[in-house]
Subunit: 134 residues, 2 copies
Amino acid sequence: MAFTLHEAIARDSLLVSREANIQIRLQNHAAVPWLVLVPEHTGAVELIDLPDTERAQLHLLQDRVSRILLNAARAHKLNVAAIGNIVPQLHIHCIGRFTDDPHWPGPVWGHPLQPYPDPELAVNAWRAHLAEAP
Amino acid sequence: MAFTLHEAIARDSLLVSREANIQIRLQNHAAVPWLVLVPEHTGAVELIDLPDTERAQLHLLQDRVSRILLNAARAHKLNVAAIGNIVPQLHIHCIGRFTDDPHWPGPVWGHPLQPYPDPELAVNAWRAHLAEAP
């Protein structure tokens, strides 16, 4: 069955790139650098729903995005999480946190999104980060 | 340097077991089944701070605990997360969520803990789960 992105993920985030059948998306929330990784695996809800090879690829991408968040975005702390209570389609949050970000030290979930003034600029910056750290 | 468990983790959770130098701990919060995995790696804050082999072992254990949460604890949804904004020592939350748990559908973090009436009973139940699903 063809993969269809959940409408809430489509609404709240922007496609940056697609690698190994995983969508790398930027949450449209300017308060923190927040990537969302969505494996294009129809029906997957939990990490353990993925076959081992796909889960391993997801972990590798998660690690790569984590390094970019620390090294390029200069995040003070990472939050890496599979939650999915509201949107069950499997997606991994990789979020760079700052001790002076508006949600610190609480979690980022549950706050209204603050959209980027220029989302395309933000997406292009992430495309450049990914190209620099393959 | 010898590993020392962060005092907040020691205070809020109970040791269930220790495998591959990872502590499997039960958060002392009766509202949801909530395991905390703590690799005994001094100084690790982020997942990417671990050497590849140790991170792979942590992922395997996370998957195993996830399966127990779904199959034995009959959780409706999993929350698997590395947050660490308040307690920087690397620890992974593996939480079984229920659509009628008191925090649903929000995250579990930030609420006062509701300790188990008999923590030893809860720990022993988890030891049995782990023995049954090695």
